[in-house]
Symmetry: C2
Subunit: 685 residues, 2 copies
């Protein structure tokens, strides 16, 4: 091919679409060989033996003025016996050719359909549509192995290695010892031909993780898991097509040992087998979830060859069977901070016998692989605008950065944002109030519940919610309720709820020495009463102060008082209204149109790492470069936390916000002992 | 050190013995640093922290005319606090210094005692005394790991890796996942100091296989195993001192499934779980043997960190849980021919949790790792004389070669040489006849039995053998008996036993249509009768013909009719008399003084591979270079086999032998239907 003394100008010109790659090849070259020569992404599992059909192309004949050629129908050799047999037995779409059989004899345009591309684009239908280039760690290879020869007595495995080197130029492959007997049997059954699933954890580390006799087209699935303190969410993906075949989530059963991370660490400290019990519980849950998803996708769990996990450090240690206690106190010593490649069975996952697990690196003792996954998904290091990413969960992961620098921390927001510790709070489920509006004049509320699109003021509302009822208020609902109360002047900047007299609405009812705002009263029909109490306001204030203080600490470290963009991540982030979040002071002041939701960015990061090995190296490098900030030992965190207690904030001006929303400034402090800060704010107002 | 602009001629001159390495070092250099600088083999586990005492040296003061220096008593700094503490707590031999504490201040001669050398010489007390240079794969390293730092949140393992790199310049170490929790605990218990056992299977493949909190001096043992069809023999060796602490053997329990290799392969063919049953049996036996040896040595089996196996291909496949059936017929396809590094637990061995196993490479489908071990031990590729090595067992491994070329084959001799298939045969045990002499004149025999040093003609014999009695004849006994019968003219060259009339002794008694020679008659006292029957002669002829034919085939391949040396290997080889073996025609004609016994050369090879990792690479290379000859499919093997039926041989002259022993040439063929070959020989005689 490199012989420059030969005149190749009369050779046929081949143009591949959609890549646009083009070049001349000697007449008679197979399409597959031409693709390889020109660096075109054309798949092949059987190595050109006409059995796998992965190398299908669609030739285009006729005039191609765009490409400057005219393709005659005889620009490819005729259907040969191999293609005819393949078409007869398994069917070939009209116009399609097998790239390993059809030979180029004239100028031609050849389209490589997506299913014939190894590095195809996969579209993630998430809150934000995202393209992932397929570049999986596990791929199938068909090899025909030399027969045993008693004069050159290389073993089955040695001859298989030679075949991989000869047919695929793949060297240095290792075989897990427990697969040797299987290889022996497969070669026997397959008459010296086998299909291998090779897993390349990183360059030069390729091992066999699946073996089938002869040419086989096994299911090859991967699981991307976002293992949260509260919820385990997973996507089951076909590693060949890139299609997500099933998605689902289960509650993390560790909740019974403790609601939040620190209570689980305490459980481990107080109970001898505490950590082991939590490890067993989460592994069980993972196996059950995988079985459920496999059933939904119509496959077996033993078809799962790869799993990617993202999770916070405590979940990480508990899944891996490591002691979480050191994570409960400074210096928050991790047992392992790097990414991990480990056989699934070593962490108790009953998938394919040699299935592999990849776990993203942890950023710091409090900032986990979930935050790393968010960084991978959102890629703040690639943009110019200074971007603040908050992943709101029981623990909030906070990332701040741009092309120049990226910082990260975590902040213990607690479960209030998820409806816990709220008087009428509940998890997001049908019947839960998720949106709230309060009329600025009448102070009357309207709301929506999960499972119904109508406002509560709609005449049809009662009928449409008859089955679910109005059962309580979830995380996004309480945030909107508190923010709306603040805008309607029912709540002062210190977080005090005013009395009926002070606010002018009977919905502000006394409850002991404080007041509560009545959102819904179904008691006449035997239903629930949903109100926002002073205690609820305090719980939300604590949570949002922790979140804001973490973000503010990163801004200090970055040396800025403002951010250009805010991204709300996390399953919960998708439901938060940016305006209400900002009125509450969860996030710094920022033009509202620059506040976006990224959906479950951690889960997206897991999916990216599952489908693209280069992304694994990318996140490993990124994590090394991130500046880690430890909120728990930073004195300024406490200062920021106290100042963030105000709604939206005690000292930060939030002038951008004030320009677009009403933020009346009453003071409801009666000297009754609630909050000196409210008193100070009151005086200033 | 490389600064050539500095004048170092006034620096103290240090001379290390026994290596003789010498050089000048700056005054104040520690002895350990000086040793490293001069390339002297001085051990250290703690890296110079004064805790391990492995770097002890013995300074010699006074005039050293041999070395051309005079050493003053102040040539080393005085005992420091660390040495004083060490001496007080653990005791230091008189005159000894810790190399990491004592600093050189003047010319001095320093002796490195054997226990301070990593690469010390170990003497094997075998049939042949042999020196092995210690260069083990598993070594201890003490490291002090940086404390966890929340601003640079590297995990326990990452900080341990850094410590290994900084203190020991060891990089790229891997940690088996199942040891991560143990590392976490050890760092906690050891206040960030741990002792690690690192195993380097081959260059660049180092992993942690043992972890202890703080500085520790754990037992570190290795097992070298010769896993034979009949006997499993093992040596338990201290991997630090190189001392063999226990040796022993057990019967291979697979015998109950079949006496020889082919009957075990048949068992696997005929019984669904046959191979699995044999695998379980041999693994059980290995665990029991290891427990027995560990008990004898006063250690635990969990102190065994390395095991080396040598064995034939069928034993190899059965130990590894591979299907042995392909080894039963051409092309004798091996599942794996290369050497194997595998965790002990993956082959069912309950040693240290992460103990490693090394299995020597197989040479061919019929020529195993035991033959490779013999080649490693005897090293025919390093000598000029053409050397024939026969390892006699149920299967004989035969190696022929010299510096120019090495060939190998195996030959199915069957168990006759071990006393099986012999009318009065028995395994070598007290009471078994092991030596025989027959008077050339009187044709009367005398013999010795195992357990008594007297000849049977000694008046004390009956008393000394009263407890054991004379129970039968073992392998070496039957070989000597047949050879003696041949020399005494009781047996003709075709292998026929003569009648009493023809031989002139009433001990040749008729048994049906043939005769038997009465060796011992204890029937009057209710004891045994031991005779050599015509059937016994035929069994020995078959066995020795197979052995000779194999050797002859290799000689053909080499292009020679004579060999310079013969080495008899195998536990059995140690007991064979070279003269009798040659009279029998087991081995080709060769000056008797060039026939030697190597003892259990396969076991020695296993021990070498256990103690010296370079030897593993050596045998791997050697096996690649050996020319494999497959006796089972070589037509000339049958020809050689038939011709070797004669005693000593039908056509080979054995003129060297004839010059030193009587080989009368009677013919006892009576035309009664025994052996056409006997008839032909008779006519020629």
């Amino acid at each position: 091919m490199n012989d420059t003394t030969q005149d190749t100008s009369q050779d046929p010109l081949v143009i591949f679409t959609p890549s646009g790659k083009r070049g001349r090849v000697p007449s008679g070259t197979t399409v597959l060989a031409a693709a390889r020569q020109l660096g075109v992404d054309l798949d092949s599992v059987c190595g050109g033996r006409g059995v796998c059909s992965k190398c299908q192309v669609q030739p285009s004949f006729g005039d191609h003025s765009k490409h400057g050629i005219s393709a005659n129908p005889d620009a490819l050799t005729e259907f040969n016996a191999v293609e005819e047999r393949y078409d007869r037995v398994r069917g070939l779409k009209p116009g399609r050719r097998l790239g390993c059989q059809a030979c180029v004899t004239g100028d031609v345009v050849l389209d490589v359909p997506a299913e014939s591309q190894v590095h195809k684009q996969v579209v993630r239908k998430a809150a934000t549509t995202r393209h992932i280039e397929m570049d999986v760690a596990t791929r199938l290879y068909y090899v025909e192995v030399a027969e045993a020869d008693m004069h050159d007595p290389a073993g089955d495995w040695e001859r298989t290695q030679m075949a991989l080197a000869n047919s695929w130029s793949i060297n240095g492959v290792t075989l897990p010892f427990n697969m040797l007997a299987q290889l022996q049997n497969a070669l026997l059954d397959g008459k010296n031909a086998v299909t291998l699933a090779l897993h390349t954890a990183r360059a030069g580390q390729t091992k066999v993780i699946g073996i089938w006799a002869g040419f086989a087209e096994p299911n090859l699935f991967g699981l991307a898991v976002d293992l949260g303190s509260t919820t385990i969410a997973a996507h089951l993906t076909d590693l060949i097509s890139g299609d997500v075949k099933a998605s689902g989530g289960v509650m993390n059963p560790q909740i019974r040992f403790g609601e939040d991370l620190m209570s689980r660490v305490s459980y481990a400290m107080m109970n001898e087998s505490g950590a082991a019990d939590m490890t067993a519980a989460v592994r069980d849950a993972m196996n059950t979830l995988a079985q459920d998803l496999a059933r939904e996708a119509g496959i077996s769990v033993t078809d799962i060859y790869e799993t990617v996990f993202v999770m916070n450090p405590v979940m990480h240690h508990l899944l891996l069977g490591l002691d979480p206690i050191p994570l409960g106190q400074a210096p928050f010593a991790l047992a392992l901070s790097s990414s991990l490649d480990v056989p699934a069975q070593e962490i108790g996952l009953n998938f394919a016998p040699n299935a592999q697990v990849y776990i993203l690196p942890l950023i710091a003792g409090h900032v986990g692989a979930d935050a790393a996954a968010v960084a991978l998904s959102e890629a703040p290091q690639t943009v110019d605008p200074l971007t603040l990413i908050v992943d709101v969960g029981t623990n909030a992961e906070i990332i701040l950065g741009n092309k120049t620098r990226v910082l990260a921390c975590s902040s213990p927001t607690g479960p209030a944002f998820e409806g816990a510790q709220i008087s009428s709070g509940q998890r997001a489920a049908p019947g839960a109030i998720e949106r709230v509006e309060i009329d600025l004049e009448t102070k009357e509320p309207r709301f929506k519940v999960i499972g119904c699109d109508l406002w509560s003021t709609d005449p049809e509302f009662a009928v449409q919610t008859a089955t679910t009822g109005v059962t309580g208020i979830c995380g996004s609902g309480i945030i909107e309720a508190v923010a709306e109360m603040r805008m309607a002047g029912l709540l002062d900047a210190s977080g005090l709820i005013g009395s009926a007299e002070a606010t002018g609405t009977a919905r502000c009812r006394p409850t002991g020495r404080t007041h509560a705002y009545l959102l819904f009263d179904g008691s006449a029909d035997g239903g629930s009463v949903v109100e926002v109490t002073q205690g609820d306001i305090r719980a939300i204030q604590l949570a949002k102060s922790a979140l804001y203080a973490g973000a503010r600490l990163l801004m200090d470290e970055f040396g800025t008082d403002t951010v250009d963009r805010v991204v709300l991540a996390g399953a919960f982030g998708a439901h938060i209204s940016p305006k209400h979040a900002m009125v509450l002071g969860m996030i710094p002041d920022c033009p509202l149109e620059h506040v976006t939701s990224a959906g479950n960015a951690a889960g997206t990061g897991a999916q990216i790492a599952l489908l693209n090995v280069a992304a694994r190296r990318e996140v490993e490098t990124l994590v090394q470069q991130i500046t880690k900030v430890e909120t728990a030992i930073e004195p300024r965190f406490q200062e920021h936390f106290v100042e963030a207690n105000g709604i939206p904030h005690a000292t930060a001006p939030f002038s951008g916000l004030r320009a677009i929303v009403p933020l009346p400034d009453p003071s409801f402090n009666t000297g009754g002992g609630d909050g000196t800060r409210g008193r100070r704010r009151g005086r200033r107002g």
